[in-house]
């Protein structure tokens, strides 16, 4: 009885309130869309402008017509770059370096993350924290001492590292391994302890537990880490700028900037085409694996 009365009294006010709330909601939604459109334009203007410029001939660019429109679309910039040996060398250098670095990164960070998250040993907790802190030491702090170290190593052993693309295979892991290890520790730690105990009782060795249980179960994390390692390797600019100079040793970002910009002559059509092609692999990966990409991005902060 009493409860019926309460509902009767409450109903009208609630209805009014709900109505006003839904009107607020509708306005909030309109404003949200408006600002989202503004921000999306802000976000997409540079890449779209790359695309627009890449479709223009040099003549159209220097004619200074409406920069936001292509009057005579042409693929000549693409054809020129994709048939240029030099550009293809940059592209393959980048691809090689990135793929090998991803492999090295996974080979180092997955076993390490497994050991740190499951096989507690003395100092393992400190090491896990240390790994994370290492991630915070930026490349811009290390490039000078590394340059000196590699030069000295070359003098000492006769194996040249400076101005060789493979030097990047040595330095890129310092950028990828700490973060990937950190991500994988998070993913491995979320696997219930009973799962490895079940595997042990089933007769699996530690190695089998890793390869047959942990890696398949933590596959999403592994993919996220792989994407991270690849995009970092692909985008890295400072190290190749410092460590490589000959055109046959350059990777894509440095190659585009040092060879397409000749003195004061800027061939913007080709530069934009090169930049777009350089941005393509990460963008394609992102388009198809967005969820893994974002998972990797957020894992570092939320898992820790």
């Amino acid at each position: 009885m009493a409860s019926t009365v309460v509902i009767d009294k409450g109903a009208p006010t609630r209805k009014v309130k709900y109505g006003s709330m839904s009107r607020d909601r509708a306005w909030a939604l309109r404003w949200s869309y408006f600002f989202l459109i503004v921000f999306a334009i802000f976000s997409l203007v540079p890449p779209l402008y790359m695309l627009i410029t890449s479709l223009k001939s040099s003549a159209e660019i220097s004619a200074a017509t409406n920069p936001w429109w292509v009057f005579h679309p042409t693929l000549s910039n693409y054809i020129e770059l994709l048939t240029s040996n030099q550009f293809l060398t940059f592209f393959w250098n980048s691809a090689w370096v990135s793929i090998v670095v991803v492999t090295i990164t996974m080979l180092i960070s997955v076993p390490a993350a497994f050991a740190l998250s499951r096989m507690r040993f003395w100092g393992s907790a400190t090491l896990a924290t240390g790994v994370f802190l290492t991630y915070l030491i930026p490349d811009t702090l290390l490039f000078l001492p590394l340059f000196k170290m590699f030069a000295a190593f070359g003098d000492w052993t006769g194996i040249p590292l400076i101005n060789r693309w493979y030097v990047l295979l040595i330095v890129y892991p310092t950028l990828t391994v700490p973060f990937c290890t950190w991500i994988m520790i998070g993913y491995f730690a979320s696997i219930p302890k009973e799962l490895d105990e079940a595997a042990i009782i089933d007769g699996a060795s530690w190695f089998q537990t890793l390869t047959r249980i942990f890696i398949p179960v933590a596959m999403p994390g592994l993919i996220a880490a792989t994407i991270f390692a690849f995009t970092v390797s692909w985008a890295q600019f400072l190290y190749p700028l410092v460590f490589t100079t000959s055109t046959d040793q350059l990777v894509l970002p440095v190659g585009i900037i040092t060879t397409l910009i000749k003195g004061d002559v800027f061939n913007w059509g080709q530069i934009m085409t090169g930049a777009l092609l350089g941005a393509a692999p990460p963008l394609i990966i992102y388009a198809f694996l967005m969820d893994y990409y974002i998972a990797g991005l957020t894992a570092g902060a939320t898992k820790g």
Binding site: E194, I201, D202, G203, A204, M219
Partner: protein
């Protein structure tokens, strides 16, 4: 198939002793349940048998061999975990056969074993599904199936039913019992639920604070508990404990609750308690079913008294009554037709033939 023996097994974590010297003989084919409150060391004991924890002291033998140093995979045991611990990326069949595949059994043999276990557990149509697609009860069956296909010497169950809802738990309890009747593998089963322990076990091991309080068949534990802990842990609603003393009145041994209430003891009980010092502080232990409504003719050893009920709980086939007797909260079970009502007086009878007498200080049942 094998027997399992624990000799003075101790587990220390740094300074804390989680298990303080356990002696236990488990016969071949036997179903033994370790039961106790959380933190009593029952799970640690099970994990030591499994080899997931090393033992700090003592010996564990499986099939007569000391296995202290043997890693889990060579102990020939299988374990069912509380959260099932199914490999999420494998199908049911792959989950069940993982151990056999690691040991490189021939394919045909693996298949026939998986099929047999699946048939026994009634999960034949599920073998190609992933654990994610299964209900809790089905996952539990798969976990058991994984244990069965290994055909181990010993089954170890670590609270396997506590993640299931009440109804399913009863169903799976019967299922486990059926499976054990079929495969007859020696089983050690850990639970905190005394009903599970009573219903499943050939013998129950009651543990508390890292020690064994009592080992016995379910009926022994229920009717002849050795300590106050066992008496109160086994049985629901729990046994009533009322402070009392022994007293000689008119040449007969009586139990005096306070100044006002005394009950004469039946001859058998009187003879048993004759030697207890009259000054000892004691507890009268009475199970609820031994406190009932008084009938016109009292059987020998049954004494009547009046009580005012605080609360009644009709359960259908019986009504639980709660009343205060000389300062102690007491629970009884009466016939639904006995007219028990909240706040109303009722004449009750207490069956002293089934009474227990405990030393209040030591908690030992006399």
């Amino acid at each position: 198939m094998a027997d399992v023996t624990l000799r003075k097994v101790i587990k220390r974590y740094d300074e804390v002793e989680a298990v303080r010297g356990i002696d236990l003989d488990i016969a071949d084919h036997e179903f033994v349940v370790l039961v106790g409150p959380s933190g009593c060391g029952k799970s640690t004991t099970l994990r030591m048998i499994a080899g997931l924890e090393d033992i700090s002291d003592g010996d564990i033998m499986i099939g007569g061999d000391v296995v202290n140093d043997v890693p889990p995979k060579d102990r020939d045991i299988a374990m069912v975990f509380q959260n099932y611990a199914l490999y999420p990326h494998m199908t049911v069949a792959e989950n069940m056969s993982f151990g056999l595949r690691l040991k490189r059994y021939p394919k045909a043999e693996i298949k026939s074993r998986v099929d047999e276990a699946a048939r026994m557990l009634d999960i034949v149509e599920l073998v190609d599904r992933k654990p994610k697609q299964l209900s809790g009860g089905q996952r539990q069956r798969v976990a058991m199936g994984r244990a069965i296909v290994r055909n181990p010497k010993v089954f170890l169950f670590d609270e396997p039913l506590s993640n299931l809802d009440a109804k399913l738990r009863v169903q799976m309890r019967i299922e486990i019992k059926k499976v054990h009747q079929k495969v007859r593998t020696t089983t050690v089963y850990v639970t905190h639920d005394q009903v599970e322990a009573m219903t499943l076990a050939d013998r129950v091991v009651v543990m508390n604070h890292g020690r064994i309080e009592q080992i016995g068949t379910p009926n022994e534990l229920y009717h002849k508990p050795a300590t106050k802990f066992v008496a109160s842990f086994i049985g629901s609603p729990a046994m009533n404990f009322i402070p009392c003393r022994l007293e000689d009145l008119a040449g007969k041994l009586h139990v005096r609750l306070t100044d006002r209430t005394t009950f004469p003891l039946p001859p058998a009980r009187a003879a048993r308690y004759q030697g207890v010092p009259r000054s000892d502080k004691l507890l009268l232990g009475l199970r609820p079913e031994h406190i009932t409504e008084a009938r016109p003719h009292l059987a020998p050893g049954v004494e009547a008294f009046d009580a005012v009920l605080d609360v009644t709980e009709p359960m259908g086939m019986e009504t639980l009554i709660y009343f205060t007797l000389e300062g102690s909260q007491v629970c009884g079970r009466v016939n639904p037709n006995a007219g028990a009502q909240d706040g109303a007086p009722l004449r009750l009878a207490v069956d002293l033939n089934n009474m227990h007498l405990l030393n209040e200080v030591t908690g030992v049942v006399l």
